[in-house]
């Protein structure tokens, strides 16, 4: 009868580590300083110097932070593996992303929304299935052997609340009380206390999947402008000193036993040191490939990420979000629009990584909180379902589907939702073990019960 866990906000009210509060904005595209006489260590120190200032408020000296990032980066340049997670927000309709064109039942369930057998390209691993035309970018990569498709990923007794099911995926288990993310626990396991870039959210707020209990992580919203001169006002003669003093006042409160003051103080401190750290290096970045032009920040964030990775910044796990896939109504246009943007952006990102010669270091994991109902509703949309579609993208992935598509004739449960043929926890465990070489049992509770699929070439 207790209501303490009623809402998502309540769940996370106690969950969010203050370690994740800062947002180091990094000069992503700064070229390696060839011929300047700088060492990589010095380069990284200067590039990420803001990060040490931002996060140095803990027990470490700035110097230790500097060393930590430099050390992590020296490893990163050679062999650091990165896992990028992309959240398709709202529960994407997997049954129309990879649609069962060979299944007559599909056309009965979806008289208005079913895609005709003539559109999209065939899915080369299963001749019953075709790709939504807007997913052409992902299909292209698939045909190059760089995409492992999960045609029906989920879990038994799927929860159909956005907030709850998403939470399960974020924490890596069907446990509403878990407070750290599955990637956050990985970072707590292998990360360091001096490298916040190890867990990077490229979004307006930290992704709960990256929430740690021990080590610092970073969030970066808009990469391109971080100025503090108030718009529309004449410059203040003491502007720089005001910023400095705001940071000083923040630092004085950051250790307060009063949590509100401590958070506000830490953020003031972080913000201004972020600003100072950026200094003259906030000049944008260039990309070797063309990304989709969009008012949506997703492609630009991916472009910035590729540049950061190419610069050797020590990023282990990354979280991004794209789309409005909760298509209860007028699904056809929304899915077309958002899937096109997501798919084209992911193709550009992969091409970018390849052009920069770092594609072998990166796997992108695409997930959504659930799939949608087999039958369409009367609103030109679909309601919340169970198993949905997911992808692993990269030159190192095996490029073979994980689980098979159960079809909609015998593959639906009594409620009309797709049955899972792969469990997300098994995928997580396999990623941790095969990509990151760690024991996933220490990170994912209860995961020993799941067989691990082979993910890599």
């Amino acid at each position: 009868m207790s209501c303490y866990d009623c809402s998502r906000a309540d769940l996370f009210r106690r969950a969010v580590a203050r370690a994740g509060r800062g947002l180091p904005e990094i000069e992503p595209g700064m070229p390696l300083p060839a011929g300047t006489g700088m060492t990589r260590r010095e380069f990284v120190s200067r590039t990420a110097g803001l990060a040490l200032a931002v996060y140095g408020g803990a027990a470490l000296s700035g110097r230790a932070f500097d060393d930590g990032i430099a050390e992590a980066a020296s490893v990163a340049a050679a062999q650091q593996k990165t896992l990028v997670t992309v959240f398709f927000n709202g529960g994407i309709d997997g049954l129309n992303v990879l649609f069962p064109a060979g299944d007559p039942r599909y056309y009965q369930l979806r008289p208005n929304l079913a895609l005709p057998q003539t559109v999209g390209r065939p899915f080369t691993e299963d001749d019953r299935l075709r790709w939504h035309p807007a997913a052409n970018g992902i299909a292209t990569l698939h045909d190059e052997g760089k995409v492992s498709v999960m045609p029906a990923v989920g879990y038994d007794n799927s929860n159909q609340s956005h907030f709850t099911s998403r939470h399960y995926y974020e924490v890596g288990g069907t446990d509403a009380s878990l407070r750290t993310g599955w990637l956050g626990r990985y970072l707590d396991h292998v990360g360091t206390s001096d490298n916040p870039l190890q867990g990077l959210t490229l979004d307006v707020a930290m992704h709960p999947s990256i929430a740690t209990a021990k080590v610092p992580v970073a969030t970066l919203a808009a990469a391109d402008q971080y100025t503090f001169a108030p718009p529309g006002l004449p410059p203040h003669p003491l502007e720089a000193s005001i910023l400095q003093e705001a940071a000083n006042i923040g630092a004085a409160h950051a250790k307060s036993s009063e949590p509100g003051l401590a958070t506000a103080g830490q953020i003031a401190y972080d913000s201004h040191h972020l600003y100072y750290g950026l200094g003259g290096i906030r000049s944008g970045f260039s990309s070797p490939v063309q990304y989709p032009s969009s008012s949506d920040p997703f492609p630009h964030r991916l472009a910035g990420l590729a540049a950061m990775l190419a610069a050797g910044l020590p990023v282990r796990v990354v979280g991004l979000t794209v789309g409005h896939f909760d298509t209860h109504a007028t699904q056809a246009t929304t899915l077309q629009r958002d899937l096109q943007l997501a798919s084209d952006s992911l193709l550009a990102f992969q091409r970018d990584l390849e052009a920069r010669g770092i594609a072998d270091r990166v796997i992108t994991h695409v997930w959504s909180e659930f799939g949608r109902r087999g039958a369409e509703n009367a609103s030109g949309g679909t309601d919340h379902g169970s198993a949905g579609v997911g992808f692993l993208i990269g030159t190192k992935v095996k490029g073979q589907q994980l689980g098979s598509h159960p079809g909609v004739t015998s593959g639906l449960d009594p409620a009309g939702n797709l049955k899972p043929s792969a469990d997300f926890r098994a995928i997580y465990a396999a990623l941790l073990e095969q990509w990151f070489d760690v024991d996933s049992n220490a990170i994912l509770p209860g995961v020993s019960a799941f067989a691990r699929p082979a993910l890599l070439k």
């Binding site: 009868m1 207790s2 209501c3 303490y4 009623c6 809402s7 998502r8 906000a9 009210r13 969010v16 509060r21 929860n159 159909q160 609340s161 956005h162 907030f163 509403a176 307006v204 707020a205 930290m206 969030t219 808009a222 971080y226 503090f228 108030p230 718009p231 529309g232 006002l233 004449p234 203040h236 003491l238 000193s241 005001i242 003093e245 705001a246 000083n248 006042i249 004085a252 307060s256 009063e258 949590p259 509100g260 003051l261 958070t263 506000a264 953020i267 003031a268 913000s271 972020l274 209860h328 109504a329 039958a375 369409e376 509703n377 009367a378 609103s379 949309g381 309601d383 919340h384 409620a415």
Partner: protein
Amino acid sequence: MGAVPEYHGPFGKQQAERLLWRAGFGARAGEADALTKLGMKHAVHALTRPAPYQLIGPDPHDERNRPLAPADAFGHDHLAWLDRMVRANAPMIERMTLVWHDWFATSNQGVASQQLMLNQIDMFRGNALGSFKDLLVNVTQDPAMLVWLNGNQNVKGKPNENYGREMMELFTLGANRGAYTETDVREQARALTGWRGSVVNRQSTGFTFDPNRHDTGTKTIFGQTGNYAWQDSCQLCLDHPMHASYFVSKLWSYFVPTAPDAATVKGLASLYAGYRVRPVVEAILTHPDFYNGPRMVKPPVVLNAGLLRMRGRYIDTSAWWSLSAQAGQQLFYPPDVGGWDDTRWLDTATFRARWFISAIVQGADTPADSPSDPVQLTTRAIGFWGNPTITPTTQSLLQGFAKAQLKRGARAADVETALRRLVASSPDMQTA
């Protein structure tokens, strides 16, 4: 039936400030001191049982002195509501309206009609401290909500589950408490069938209940069977044994950052007789945890309205809506049906927007008679904002800053305006 614990500690300026910030939009100069003279209970009643609603002060306008167009101009909906937050003689009515906007979070992103959104907010305002049953029944047939959660497309034979699910998960019962099943979601959707109407080119047309679209069959909801219609859907949720505990705990979370203990939940639930909101709010605002517990971060619009009130300034620029959006809260555009996350207001991006808001409320005004004394300068800078309580930690740093700047040869007037900026952006002012 246990009574809800009551706070018996001192009710001084700091307690009055917390009450005014959490139950309204901060304190105008002198307001907190005046409130202390009433004592806690009467101070709370002054907010929860206000005089007839009126707006005091000049009408809002943009930077070119043109009136606002809340139903038509983008962002003017936000500005018009911010104006009410600044000018209302009954700030708690506006604060509760904001609570309902978050509780039944509807975004014009999906509705595409500022007028329908304004109508919904007016409905919340009219029920701000009234009956939760009225709120639920009204929002269930509210055109903006019907569009937002597809109630207008929920038709017999092919129900759309969107509204029925969120009605239980977010509005009345809560997820993962065993209060309802997926079958209940489907059956609720059937009971809620029948509404129609749409928004075309920002104009609403044809919002009505159409019996031909309603499923008149038998439904089984929460184990009870009947030929339920939409009113029954609402009532079944309200009658559910787990509704009251959800309601009081969620309401509590808007005012107190720590969870209520079990006895408090029980006591508050017993006050929720007849779905009345006001007695529950009054018990929360007089609870020991409200005054003894930790600070809460002020939501961006609350901070913005509060800073304007502290300065006695009114809406005279359209800058606020976009700055508030950058700070994480554009009114009429909550992030999703779950509303805003009160635990996530502050990061380095939103801090920057708060910095701009406080600087622009302050403006370019420069005093002509600044003294060359650090202590006096600090006192004057705090006085500029109506003498809010500032921690000794911050005050001594401000004095140190003033001293150092004067020593470096800075003009006293510049030091004073710098101090004003530092007061408004301090951790003290971000929290209450």
